[in-house]
Subunit: 207 residues, 2 copies
DNA sequence: GTCTATAACCTGATAGAC
DNA sequence: GTCTATCAGGTTATAGAC
């Protein structure tokens, strides 16, 4: 598959390989991806791939590092900010994350799958550590709802935001939605999810 | 990995292989799983695996069929039932699904990953089709909140329930939770999620 | 830096003895 | 039915010419 070079102009060879690797790894995962496919997609020779990156694993590590940064990097600054309200954080988080995922819909499933296969490598992803242990977000959650573990709200917000992208391959074929319709739904969720989160946070069990 | 036979007694050879395949495929996915690992885990020889199942693919197809049934099979009857209220359906769904996922935490990531790699194979998974097109659940959602696409609520309920299991490898290492603590949180969610879903469904945008 | 050719290895599958 | 030994094919990685 992908026998025709996808990147012809203006990119350095190294960048062409990385661009191709991003595509092929994201689509197939580490194990199923073949270096030949990456070389073909990049429009260069297989030997050249090993000349720039010493091995498939090393090439993958670089890509994975990027993807993790993309997936987790933007979150921490929003969550740590002590000058914003809980409500603002939720709105900003959902909006930023949804935008990023619309551009990068296969990212969550890719990252989660590879973490499953090699959990050791991701033992301490610092942004999430930060959010969980030192963030203003968690402090605000604890203050508002001290009786519920803040992880419940964090997992819920993430689940509401991220899960539709994880389930997309399934949903799209089942609900007969094309890309445009799916994107429109995700845009709608930028308003819906914060609304829901606020309601959830206000809802005490016996109210 | 897995060099010592895990199943020694009372299982037929065929069942030993299937049991081993369930474990290895679930942990690694189709592409990364090696038939040698499955044979070793089963405590039998590689040739025997091909004697019982003609190929890796055929063995996998059988396992996948089981897993899909496990993942989707139980849902449809709950959602289609015309004698129960929307509230009851949500509570039953979350409780049943959570119980199943506690016993089978790696199931969602496995299923989603393999659907991504081979979307064609799962084009029409009948239980979900049923839920989306003919279920009492969707009808009740439409009646209660006609202005919101029912898929929003379905994705949200699924996300709240399933996402914590998808993110588990990540969360466990990050939040320093052991298996028991994680299970306890999931048990808590059996009460929290229905509560939240009801609040969400009642919350009109300008109320 | 880039290529062709090939080495070295691994994996799924089979042949054939028991 | 179960095993050992091996084949056939594919994959990563490298050698060596240009």
């Amino acid at each position: 598959m992908g026998k025709s070079p996808a990147f012809e102009k203006e990119l350095s060879t190294e960048e062409k390989i990385k661009a191709a690797a991003r595509i092929v790894f994201a689509k197939k995962g580490f194990a199923a991806a073949r270096t030949r496919d990456i070389a073909d997609t990049a429009g260069i020779n297989l030997a050249l791939l090993n000349y720039y990156f010493r091995s498939k694993q090393k090439l993958f590590d670089g890509i994975m590092r990027e993807k993790l940064q993309e997936f987790f990097g933007k979150v921490a600054p929003i969550m740590i900010d002590t000058t914003t309200t809980l409500e603002t954080k939720i709105e900003t988080f959902v909006a930023h994350y949804t935008d990023m995922l619309i551009k990068n819909p296969e990212l969550p499933l890719f990252v989660m799958s590879e973490i499953r296969t090699h959990p050791q490598h991701f033992a301490q992803i610092s942004p999430i550590h930060q959010i969980l242990n030192e963030s203003s977000f968690v402090a605000q959650l604890k203050e508002k709802r001290p009786e519920v573990h803040p992880l419940h709200f964090l997992m819920s917000m993430l689940g509401l935001t991220v899960f539709p992208f994880i389930a997309m391959p399934m949903m799209k074929s089942i609900a007969s939605l094309d890309d445009e319709a799916y994107t429109r739904m995700m845009e709608e969720r930028k308003k819906l999810i914060p609304l829901w989160m606020h309601t959830i946070l206000d809802k005490k069990p016996n109210t």
